[in-house]
Symmetry: C2
Subunit: 238 residues, 2 copies
Amino acid sequence: MIDPTRIRALVFDVFGTVVDWRASIAREVAQVADARGVAIDGGAFADAWRAGYQPAMRRVASGDRPWARLDVLHRENLETLLPRFGLDGLDEDERQQLNFAWHRLDPWPDSVAGLHRLKRRWPIATLSNGNVSLLVDLARHGGLPWDTVLSAELFEKYKPDLVVYRMAARLLGIADGELVLVAAHPSDLDAARDAGLMTAYVHRPLEYGHDQSAEQVAPDRFDWQARDFADLASQLGA
Amino acid sequence: MIDPTRIRALVFDVFGTVVDWRASIAREVAQVADARGVAIDGGAFADAWRAGYQPAMRRVASGDRPWARLDVLHRENLETLLPRFGLDGLDEDERQQLNFAWHRLDPWPDSVAGLHRLKRRWPIATLSNGNVSLLVDLARHGGLPWDTVLSAELFEKYKPDLVVYRMAARLLGIADGELVLVAAHPSDLDAARDAGLMTAYVHRPLEYGHDQSAEQVAPDRFDWQARDFADLASQLGA
C-alpha cells in the first residue's frame, strides 16, 4: 500500500462514482412520461441513454467528428431514444429540459460527507467527461464541495486519453505521481495508472441498478479499494 | 441600470478585488527579512513585485515569449527584486516559499460573506490571470466558496485578451451577455464590456495601501458600482 503522505491532491470521476445517474435520470424521465400519459421503464431509458455515451465519445476520440461537449452528445443520443420510448411528442423546451437532467443528478448518500473529510486534508476536484457547466450545476445541486472543476472540455479530449489525467496534475501544480484518481470504473483507473497517477477504486454496486453487481477487481489491481467515500477517507487517514 | 434577472453567473477578478495582495505579501516578506536580520519596507517590496506583473504578461501577450503561468512570472520578477532589497542570500527553498506567498493572500474582510450571498443565487467563479493551482490554494487559504476556478492558464491567454472573458462564458454554458465580471480595475472591466459581458466595479481604496486612493470612475461607466461585496450583493438582490 502506498503511503498517503505522497498524495498532494485527489480528482474524482463523477458519473457513477460521485452521483447516481441511473436513479436520477429514471426519475426525471418517468415524470416527463407520466405527464404525457406514456408508460415507460425509467431505468431502461436511463440505461439506454447511458449506453450511447461511450460510442459517441469514441467518434470524437477517433477524429470521426470534431470536439463536442457532453451536453451535445447527450442531446443527440436523446433524439434517437425518444421515438423508441414513445416520447417523440416532446417539444424543443421539453427535450432541452430533459437533456439537462444530467445537470441534476443526486450524489450517492456517502459522497458529500466523504468529500468534506478528504477536502480538509487535500485539494479535491472533478476529473470528468462532463462539460464544465454540467459539473458546476451538479455541484450546486448536490452540495459537492469541489475546490475546482476539471473537465475533459478544458482539454478537448475525453478520458481515457492520457492527456486528460496529466493535464489535471499540471493544472493542480503537482507531479502525475502525486495525484490520485478516485473512480468506480477499472478502465478509467487503468488509464490513470498508465498516465502515472495513483488509483483508488470505489465500489458502487448499485450504479446499474439493484439487479447488477459491480465489476470484481483483484485486491492488488489499484492502490486503494474502498466500499464508499467514508471508507476511502478512513483508509487515507483523512 | 440593467435588470439583475439577466444575470446567469458572475466571475471575479481576484488580485486586489477579492484578496488584499499588498498587505499579505508585505507581511510575508517582512517575516523573511526579519529572520535574516535585514531591514526592509514590506509594502515597498510588495509594490515593486506587483509592478513587474503587467510588463511580464505583456511579453507573453505580444508573443515575445511563449506562454508561462503566473507562478513563473512571479518567480522571475522575484529574482530581480531580491538583490535590490538586500535579500540575495535566500536559498532555493526560501525563494520558492516566498514566491508561493501569492498562494496565501488574505481576502478583504467582506469577500467571503459577500461571495456566499451571491453564490446562493448564481454560480460564482474566479476569472484571474493567476494560475489554477494558485487560485485553488487561495480559495482553500481564505475559504472562498467558488463553484469553480477559471484562469487565464486554461486558455493560455492573459486578460485583457477578449478570448479569456468569452471562453469563461462558454465554459459556464451561457451567452457573453449573461455573465458579469466583478473587478476593482476599470481596465479589466473595459475589456470585459468589449467582450460583451456585464460589468460591476467594486471600490478597493486600500489595494495600494493607506496612502493611495482608488481610481475615480464615472457613475455610468459600468453596469454596477459597489463599495464592497456586501453592497454588490444588495444591489443585485442576492
